[in-house]
Amino acid sequence: MPDYKFCFPFAAVLGQEKAKEALLLATVNPRVGGVLLSGEKGTAKTTLARGLAQLVPEAPYIEVPLNTTEDRLIGGIDFSASIVRGEPVLFSGLLSLADGGFLYVDEVNLLSNALINPILSVCASGINIVEREGLTASQPARFVLIGSMNPEEGRLRPQLLDRFGLYVNIGSESDVATRRQIIERRLAYEDDPLEFCRAWQNETKRLREKIIRARQSLNKIIMPDSCLKWASQLSTSAHAAGHRAEIVLCQTALAIAAWNEQPQVCMDDISLAARYVLPHRMKETLEAKDIATAEAAAGEGSPKEAPDFGSAEMDEKNEPDRVDPTLDGKLDDELWQDIVELDQQLKLNLSSFGKVKSPGEGKRLKTASNSRRGRYVRYRLAEGDAADLAMDATLRSAIRHGSDDPNLKIQVKPTDLRWKIREQRTGVSIFFLVDASGSMGAKQRMGATKGAILSLLNEAYQMRDSVGIIAFRKDRADVLLPLTRSIDRAEKQLRSLKTGGTTPLSLGLKKAHDLILAERRRHRDAIHCLVLISDGRANYSQSEQDPFQEAINIAKRFYHEKIYSLVLDTESSYIRLALAKDIAEALGAQYIKLDDITSSSIASKVKSFLTNVYD
């Protein structure tokens, strides 16, 4: 394990009050069930999580790196120790090592499913069952799961989202004075970490003592019926499924009361807890048309005042105002607003809940990779003549029988052989090439394409497909959206789109061609295809050539490179030239004339095209 003794101290992190509060509450009462920190890059997510290791040194703090293999997570046979002892010896996996402490997963949205599933099941049961190489053991594994993620990199699986008791959306500070101090502290820390930690020692100690006091008082705190009622009212209004929301609300409120050294929970504690507990549990589906409004609302939301948990010099006399118990049941507008705003940031990630499955979905879930690229996640029994040997698993198997050769400690027999199962984030990469020139209906075309892309991305989580957009106008072709699986990123990048100017179709095709070839080099297992949305008109060329002829010439390259393509013809004038059809022929593409240029028509055409690609 790395040494976290000299990490940037928790107490020295400036701002990020909500994140600090959530982490401290989970530390005081592990029953709140974990914390998810979601936010942009460079906002101290990891710093805060690691700070806990320093703050609670007696509890184990375990990190799960993204490239962890399944055996290290769960545990298994330790082959070198087994040889020494002459009997199978078990090594503990990270899940058991974290028992009684914290399990931190950075970039939890990028973790392989092979690793997420065991984490989820252990989170629910608190027991890690090792069932490997003929060995069975069960070990306690109760820990506070802490995850951090950048929503720009892709969304989190809903089941996993629900596992986190508390959710915090973390952003950067927008106050010059605070930012100034942040830079100052960071520079001081990097200058001399030991000295910096020493300077913050007292603060750290006071925070630690407060945690210990709160932990000790936790089971003496009384939960009045009025608060229980308030908790279930809040959960019901939030349409949170099941009873988990209420339970977590109460556990969090208990932790808040313990932290504030109150003898019993008050209504305010429940309300405060709701800000962390409910946002990611609200399960109304947001219609696609609301996404824009929701985003606007979420963007304007200002962070609510919360008690200053960050510094140990917290005002001890500051007793929270008591709510008049006769007022129960009346929803505090402000609180509601706060929860809803937070929730709407999440909605973007959740909006595909309960959608009808697309026809090709089953096939697309196959992400195990056949080549030797990709991440080694687990192993399987060897068969055939694959060459990707999982040495560790093979050795663990070989240890069960002895060695006939005195020169070898371990003798591997054919039955011991295990191959690696690798996983790659593959799927179909769809490049949309859109005409953004001033030709008729450019705005509508772009708008419809944007809508179609967002709707495709909504399902992309299950499909593991990624989408990119290239648009051409005037004298250039630009990548509006690099290949992404993130609806969040797509939304941000596509917010404003310019249209107008000449139509450099050939430039657009050339750009798409180069990008697809580059992607092919990168992900050999993935399928790349092109969706051209245009009326086939071209009036700008890079050379002396006729613009249309130039486009045809480049289109032929797609055919030679065997790139799957689809042309959606948006021609809408009375006199039909059907130029797009010629382009489609040159591309070797499927050609569809769009009668109505809407998001749903584009999305459905692309979906059925993709089904063909798979067959």
């Binding site: 890059k41 970039e107 930012r179 790659q424």
Partner: protein, 345 residues
């Protein structure tokens, strides 16, 4: 150290014509490795790789713990590897910073390290065989065509860059070692973009272009031809300039701890970051570190506005949210005006 390497001679850094931003960004990182590396974007044939490789010859000496495979710094106990933490004494020896390559085709095992199979079979011992991330500690980790790197390698790279530590929990091995490297990447943006998370990890970004000026272009060609014809004499011809640069870097490194900044400098960095709506706090922190290094390189002991301007132009552009059909670059003049306005000039 390795004299058999002589035939793979590098083009001298000081012989590179033009590309001032790129050269400055690289040098500032040598002076203060905490800036966090450079991403160099540009079309083919713009001396990107040449510049990175040529750094090897201007890298100075530094102290290492004797016998430590991770070249731990004897004076930085907070970043010691497990073995150094257990050692009683840490005899310092002098070593040189290196350029460690991460090929785009590298496997994950190669990058993070893996089980030493020979040891396992022969002796039944579980031993860790260090990978590229181990070699990269306190060195330059160079990724050519970084935008073509496999996603899962990028994840691992980000993990290590974020933590300064490479943690291995795989193939029955549990191990961790320091991996604090200066990340240098080169890419041709025509071949695809970088993930936002990865681009943010690069302290600075420079865009390079071919020279416009005919005479400059001719000089580029002339020098290249001379180098290819007789590398040894070409390198020799630049040896004075090379040692002058080495000395300048060394002095700047020594001066760096004494360079100071005032409250206004920090406020300017924060103000610009807020106004330009950059993500997170890394932009302003990097800006100050870069300004400090630039002041040290210019032989000053106080950050001036010009240092902030240089720093802002190197540390900010890639952290802005790019809007379609707009350049991903900010106008240097705009930044200069913002800084001067804030400083009340």
């Amino acid at each position: 150290m390795n004299h058999t390497d002589m035939k793979r001679m590098n083009f001298p850094f000081t012989a590179i014509v033009g590309q001032e931003d790129m050269k400055r960004a690289l040098l500032l990182n040598l002076i203060n490795p905490q800036i966090g590396g450079v991403l160099i974007r540009g079309e083919k044939g713009t001396a990107k790789s040449t510049a990175v490789r040529s750094l090897a010859d201007v890298l100075g000496l530094r102290l290492e713990v004797e016998g430590c495979p991770f070249s731990c710094d004897p004076n930085q106990p907070a970043h010691w590897c497990r073995e150094c933490r257990q050692r009683k004494d840490h005899p310092p020896v002098s070593g040189r910073m290196r350029v460690v390559d991460l090929p785009v085709s590298a496997t994950e095992d190669r990058l993070v390290g893996s089980l030493d199979i020979e040891q396992a079979i022969r002796r039944g011992e579980k031993q860790f065989e260090p990978g590229i991330l181990a070699q990269a500690n306190r060195n330059i980790l160079y990724v050519d065509e970084v935008n073509l790197l496999d996603d899962h390698l990028v994840d691992t790279l980000l993990d290590a860059a974020a933590m300064g530590v490479n943690t291995i929990e795989r193939e029955g091995v549990s191990y961790s070692h320091p991996s604090r490297f200066l990340l240098v990447g080169t890419m041709n943006p025509e071949e695809g973009d970088l993930r936002p998370q990865l681009i943010d990890r690069f302290g600075l970004v420079v865009d390079v272009f071919g020279e416009d000026d005919i005479r400059q272009r001719m000089e580029v060609v002339r020098r290249r031809l001379a180098f290819e014809e007789n590398p040894e004499s070409f390198v020799h011809a630049f040896s004075d300039q090379q040692s002058a640069l080495r000395e300048q870097i060394r002095q700047a490194q020594n001066r760096l701890p004494e360079v100071s900044y005032n409250e206004t400098d920090l406020e300017i960095a924060s103000y610009i970051a807020i106004t330009l709506e950059v993500d997170g706090h890394r932009a302003d922190i990097t800006m100050i570190k870069t300004a400090l290094a630039n002041a040290a390189f210019s032989g000053r002991s106080q950050v001036e506005l010009e240092d902030l301007i240089v720093a802002a132009n190197l540390a900010l552009p890639h952290r802005l949210r790019r809007r379609p059909f707009e350049e991903g670059r900010i106008n240097p003049q705009e930044i200069e005006e913002m800084i001067q306005n804030y400083a009340g000039l």
